[in-house]
Symmetry: D2
Subunit: 381 residues, 4 copies
C-alpha cells in the first residue's frame, strides 16, 4: 500500500477484515506500507497491521513478493505510481479520483489496457458502489424494475465550509488539492449514478462557484488542523458545483456537489425515476433503499423502505443476521473481495481505470462548461 492517510486506514481495514468474512480464492498478506517519512510510515505500519514499512515506492513495486499495489496517495501522484506498478506486472487498486487531469487518467487507462492483455488487473476505488443498498439499487434497475430511465437526481451534500471563518486548509488551495467539491465529492455522485443506472453521461452544462472566496490563513499548524491567523488568503477551488447532464439515452440528470449544505453531513443521494418505478438512495441512511414500484395497484403504491440487510442481498451473506447494520468501512472489504476474485478469476474488475477515466472526462467537461458560461459540453468519450 502506497500512502497511509485516512484512506490508508480504510483500505487497511478492508484488507484485514475481508478474508475473515469472505471465502476468498487467495489469502491477502498485508506486507508493506510506503510513505515518505520513515518514522510516520513505520508507525502507520504498526497501527494498521502491515508487516513492514518503506519509503521508496519504486523499490517496493520492483519486489518479487509483491503482487498487488494499493495506491492511497494524493491524486497528483496516482498516474506515475499506477503506471509504473502496472508496467512492473503488479495488480493495482487506485483510490479515486483516478487522477487530477484527463491526460493523466488517459495514460493510466492506456497502461491498464496494456496490462490487462498480460493478465494484470486494475481497479479504481469508488467504494460507494459496494454499499449493499446501492448495489441492490443497481440490481433492481438492471432487472428492469423501474423501466425506462427518465431522470436522475444526484447530489453529494456536505456542510463543513458553512462557517466563513473556518480556515484556509490545503483542501481549499488548487495547487495542492487539485480540485474542490467537484473532484472530491462530485466524482462520487457521477460514478454512483452511472453505476446504478447503467447510463453514460454524454454532455453537461454546469457552473462551479466559490461562495466564500477568502478565508483566514492557517497560523501554526497542529496536526491536520491548525489555528486561524489574522491574515486571509484566497480559496482557489470550487466549493459548489452544480450541473445538468444528458445521458446517451436522452435521459436527464441533475448534479450537485457542495460543502455548504447546512446540516447535511455526508449525503450522497441518487434518485432514479423510471417509467415503471424509482429507486432512491441516501448514504446518510446507507442500509436502506427506497423503492417505488409503479406496477403495483395504484392505491397501494408508495416508496418502500427496504433494509438491505437480508442474507441474500448483495455482499450480505457472510455478515450478520437480517436487521444488523453495516457501516462505512464495509465497502472496503467488499472492494477487496471483488478485486481478489477478479485477479484469481482473470476477469476485469469494475470500476476499471476506463471507468475512472470517464468520470474524469465528465468532471473536466463540467469545468469547461462552467468556464464557457454553462454552455453544453460533450464529455468526449
Amino acid at each position: 500500500m502506497i500512502g497511509y492517510g485516512f484512506m490508508g486506514a480504510a483500505h487497511s481495514q478492508g484488507w484485514r477484515v475481508a478474508p475473515r468474512f469472505f471465502d476468498l480464492p487467495a489469502e491477502p498478506q498485508m506486507q508493506v506500507v510506503v510513505g515518505r517519512h520513515p518514522g510516520a510510515v513505520a508507525s502507520a505500519a504498526a497501527k494498521w497491521g502491515w508487516e513492514e514499512s518503506a519509503t521508496d515506492w519504486r523499490e517496493v513495486i520492483a519486489r518479487d513478493d509483491i503482487d498487488v499495489v494499493d495506491i492511497v496517495t494524493p491524486g497528483d501522484t496516482h498516474a506515475e505510481i499506477a503506471i509504473a506498478a502496472l508496467d512492473a506486472g503488479k495488480h493495482v487498486l487506485c483510490e479515486k479520483p483516478l487522477a487530477n487531469t484527463v491526460d493523466e487518467a488517459e495514460a493510466m487507462a492506456d497502461a491498464a489496457e496494456r496490462a490487462a492483455a498480460r493478465g494484470i488487473r486494475s481497479m479504481v476505488g469508488f467504494t460507494y458502489r459496494r454499499v449493499p443498498a446501492a448495489t441492490f439499487a443497481r440490481d433492481l434497475v438492471a432487472a428492469g424494475r423501474i423501466g425506462e430511465i427518465r431522470q436522475v437526481r444526484a447530489a453529494y451534500l456536505q456542510d463543513w465550509l458553512i462557517d466563513a471563518e473556518s480556515p484556509l486548509t490545503w483542501r481549499l488551495q488548487k495547487e495542492r488539492a487539485g480540485s474542490g467539491s467537484l473532484g472530491d465529492i462530485g466524482a462520487h455522485a457521477v460514478d454512483l449514478s452511472e453505476y446504478i443506472t447503467g447510463l453514460k453521461l454524454a454532455s453537461v452544462s454546469g457552473v462551479l462557484d466559490t461562495l466564500v472566496t477568502e478565508r483566514p490563513l492557517l497560523g501554526e499548524t497542529i496536526g491536520l488542523s491548525g489555528t486561524a491567523s489574522a491574515e486571509r488568503g484566497a480559496v482557489t477551488v470550487d466549493d459548489v458545483a452544480l450541473f445538468t447532464g444528458r445521458y446517451e439515452s436522452g435521459a436527464l440528470g441533475t448534479f450537485e456537489a457542495t460543502r455548504f449544505a447546512t446540516g447535511r453531513k455526508n449525503a450522497l443521494r441518487v434518485e432514479v425515476s423510471g417509467s415503471l418505478g424509482a429507486v432512491s438512495f441516501d448514504l446518510e441512511r446507507m442500509n436502506e433503499l427506497q423503492f417505488y414500484d409503479a406496477t403495483l395497484p395504484p392505491l397501494e403504491q408508495g416508496f418502500r423502505t427496504i433494509y438491505v440487510t437480508e442474507h441474500d442481498h448483495p455482499y450480505l451473506a457472510p455478515w450478520w443476521p437480517a436487521g444488523h447494520m453495516l457501516g462505512y468501512e464495509h465497502g472496503f472489504s467488499h472492494q477487496v473481495k471483488d478485486l481478489v476474485e477478479a485477479i484469481v478469476d482473470g476477469t476485469q474488475p469494475r470500476p476499471s481505470f476506463a471507468d475512472g477515466l470517464h468520470v474524469q472526462r465528465v468532471l473536466d467537461a463540467v469545468e469547461r462548461s462552467s468556464n464557457a458560461g454553462s454552455a453544453w459540453t460533450a464529455t468526449g468519450d
Copy 2:
C-alpha cells in the same frame, strides 16, 4: 369569481370558510360566479355556494355591488380581465400564473400600480406561501436564524406523465396550456423560494425538455379525461424544466420542475442553506418544517421536525389545538384573510402583481436560456 374549475372550488372554499375562523374586518359575500356555459356555471354556483351565476364577466365587473373580482380562468385570459377589473375600481385576486407572457404580466403590473394609487388592491394567488410551515420558514429566515443564505434547493416533483401511453391532454399542448411544467409548477418553486429567502433571482441558466415527445391522441372525451385513440400527436410543452439561478446576493439556487419524478405526487420542496442554519420544507408533509440550527452545541445539532400547528404559529390561532393538521385548502382561507385585511387596511397585499411579474420574467429567462444552449440569462428586473 370569474371561472369555476378546480381552482374555483378551492377559492370558493376559501371565501366560505375564512370568515368562519378568522375575525375579518369585512364580511365577504359570495355573490356571483361567471362562466361561458350558462348551465354549467349555474351548477357551479349552486354547488360552491354563490348567490348568482353569469356568463359575461364584463357586465359583472361593471356592477356596483361587486367589490372584489377573483380570477380563476386559464392564464391566457388573466390580463384582459384583471386590467378591466382594476380599471373598473375592483380589487383583484388573480390565480397564478399572473399571465402567459411577460408582456401581459407587465401590463397587469402597470394596471395594478395605477389602481393602487386609487386605493384598489391586487394580489396573485401563490397560496403555498400561506401554508403555515412555509410562512414559518420565512419567519425564521427573516429573523436571521439561518444567517447568510448560501444555497437554495427548490423542486416541484410530480409523476403523472411517467406512462408514455397516457394520452395527449390539453395540458400538453402549447396552444392551449401556454406552458408546461415550468409555468405550471416551476412557477411555484420560484415564488416560494423567493418568498422564504427574501432573495431575488438575477439570472438563470437552464434547460426545458420534453422527455416523451409523442402520446396517443384523446379519443372520445369523457369529462376532464378521455380514452386514448390509436393516433399519436406531439407533446408541445416542456415536461421537465431544470435550471440554476443566481440571486442578486450572489447565492445560488437549483430548480427542478418535472412531471416524471416517479413516486413523487406533489413534492414542492425548498431547502435553504445558510451560514447559521437551514430550513427544509416539503409540501408532501405540509404541516412540518425541518429546521437545522448550526448555533447549537455541535454534538446536538440535527434537523428538527417542527409540527407547525401551535396556536402561535402563522395563521394557526383560529384553527384547532396543537397537533391537529391543516390541509391543502386552508391556504385559500389564509389568502382570503390576508386579502380582505389588506383591502380594509389600505395596504399592499403580497404577492403583488409586481411579484407575479417577476416570477414571469424568471420563467421567461429560463425559456430563453434553454433556447440559447443554457447560456446565463438575466431575469431583466
Copy 3:
C-alpha cells in the same frame, strides 16, 4: 346542534362543507345551535353559521322542523339528551365518548336500538375512523392483505402535561372531566384499533396512573386558560393509562394513552402485525399509511409510505388532485356524509351507539383492572 365548544366548531365545519363536496342524498340545513348562555350561543350561531340559537335543548328536540340532533356537549350530559332526542324521533349524532359511565352508555345503546326499529338512526363521533388513511388501513386488513392478525400496537401520545407547574384545569378534576387520558384519548386508540382490525377486545390488564399528583390551582380565569395561583390542588384523573388487551381471536394488543409523551403532540398510532403483512398509521402524518406486504419477494419487502390522496382512496374523490393533503376537520365532513347517507338509505351508520358502548366497557374494564392490581378483567360484552 347541542353545545358549541371546540367540537362544535369542528362539527359545524363538517355540516357546512360536506354538502359542497359530496353529492349528498339530502341537503342539511344548519338550523339551530343550543347552549346555556343566550349571548354566547347567539355569537356561536353567527360565527359558525347556524340560522338560530336557543337555550333549551328540550324545546329544540320537540320541534317538527328538526330532523337530526348533533350532541357536542360534555360527556355527562350525552345520555339524557341523546335518549330524549331518539325518543322524540330525531336522528342523533353524539360526540365521543358516548357517555361517562357504562350504565349511561347501555341506556343510550338501548334507546338507539329501540329507535332503529322505527327507522331512527344514531351514530357516535369517532371521526378518526374517517381519516382516509385509517379507512384504507381497514380496507387492506378486511381484504386479507395482512393475513391473520397477531398483534396490535395502539397509542395516543400527547405531551401537554409535562410541565409539573402547568395549572390544575377542569380537565384534571374527575368531578368535571369524568375521566382523564383513558377516556379522553385512550377511547380513540381502542375504537380506531378495533375498527382497523375488525377485532373486539375480550379482556384487559392495565394500570392508570397520575404521575403529577398536585398542581397549582388556577387563579383568575381568563378565557379557557388562566393564571396559576400559589395554592395547589390534587389531580384527580389519570394522566397515563397503560394496558394490554386480549382480543376474542386470541391476538394481543398493547395500549397507551398519555399526556406525558414529551414531543408527541397528537400521535394516535395504530400498528397491526399480521401473518402476511402489517399496516401502521400515525395521526401526526394523517395523509400517509405505512403498509408492509410480506408476500412480496423477500429482498424487496419494506414498509411502504402510501400517500392516501388518490382519487379512488376512501372519501377522496370529491376533494383535490392526488398529492393534495387533507386536514383534521375533513373527518367531520366525512362523518356528515356517512350519516346523511345512512339516514336516507335506512341503514345503520357506524360507529353505532353499540360500538360506543363497547368502547366504554373496555375503558371500564381497564379501570377495574387497574384497581385490582392489573388483574385480567373481561370487557363484559
Copy 4:
C-alpha cells in the same frame, strides 16, 4: 474465547479491530478458541484469527498465559465457566444473558464480587449500550437535558416467526433455548432502557404468550436451518412478552419483546419522556438519535435527528469523519476497549455481573407476573 457461533464471530471482530483504532493500554492477543468439536473449532480458529483451538475449556482457563476469558457459549453453560474462570483469576467477559436462571446469575454475581476484591474484572455483553447514539442518549439524560423522567417506552421488535409454517427450531424449545423472546431480546430492552435512564425497575406486571403454539418439526438438518417435516411439535417458549414496569423513582415503563412484529427486523427502540425533553433511539437507525428539547422556544420545538457520528461523540474519535456510519459490530470493538481499559485501570467495567443479575431478576419477575395473572411482582433487588 469459549464458544464460536454467531457471537463468536462478532467478539472476534471486536478483539481484532479494537486495537487498530483505539490506543489501548494493553495489546490483546487472540490466543485460543475453545469448542467441543475439534475439527469445527480448529476451522473457527483459522477463520476468525485465533492462534490455537482447544476442546477443554477447563484446561484453557488453567493456563498461565491466558488473562481474559470471553464466554460466547449458550446461556446454560455461562455460570459454570464464568465462575471457574473468575476463581482461576481470569478476567471474564460473558455474553448476555448472564445466565438462564436467577440462581445461576446470583452465583455468578457473587463470584464476580469475590474476584473484584482480588482485582479480577468481569463484564456482561450488552453491547447495544455501546452504540454511540445510545451512549449519547445516556449522556444527555445524565446531564439533565430531559429533566425528570416520566415514562419509558421500550420495545424489541422482530418478525422472523410470522409464518406459522416456519419450522420448530431449537430456539423455540425451552429445554434448549432456556427462554423465548423475553430472555433473548426483552433482556436488551430492559438493559438498554435502564442504562439510558439510569433508573431501576422495582416491579412489573406482564404477560408472556405463545401466539403460534405448534409448528412443523424439522426434517433433515442442513447447516443451521433445515427442512420442515409433516409432523408438528409444540413451541415451548414465549414468542411475545408484554409488560409494564414501575421504576424505583415512580416513573412508568412499557416493554414489548416480540418476534411477530411484521416488517420490523431488529427494532430495539427506547424512548424516554422527561419533564424537559425526550430522547428516542431505534437500532434500525443506529447512527441517529432523536432528541426533543422542551426548553427551546415553543414554536421551534421538534424532534431533532442527530447523526451521532461527530468526532467528539462517544467512541467516535478514532473512526471516520463525521457523517460516515458505523455498523453492528462496532459495539464489540467498543466493548473490548472499555474492558481492556477497566482491567488496566483497575476499575469495574459496566455492565457488571450485578447489572446482568438485575436484568435476570426483572425477566424472572415478568415470568412470575405472567403466571400470576399479570399481578404486580417485585423484581426483588
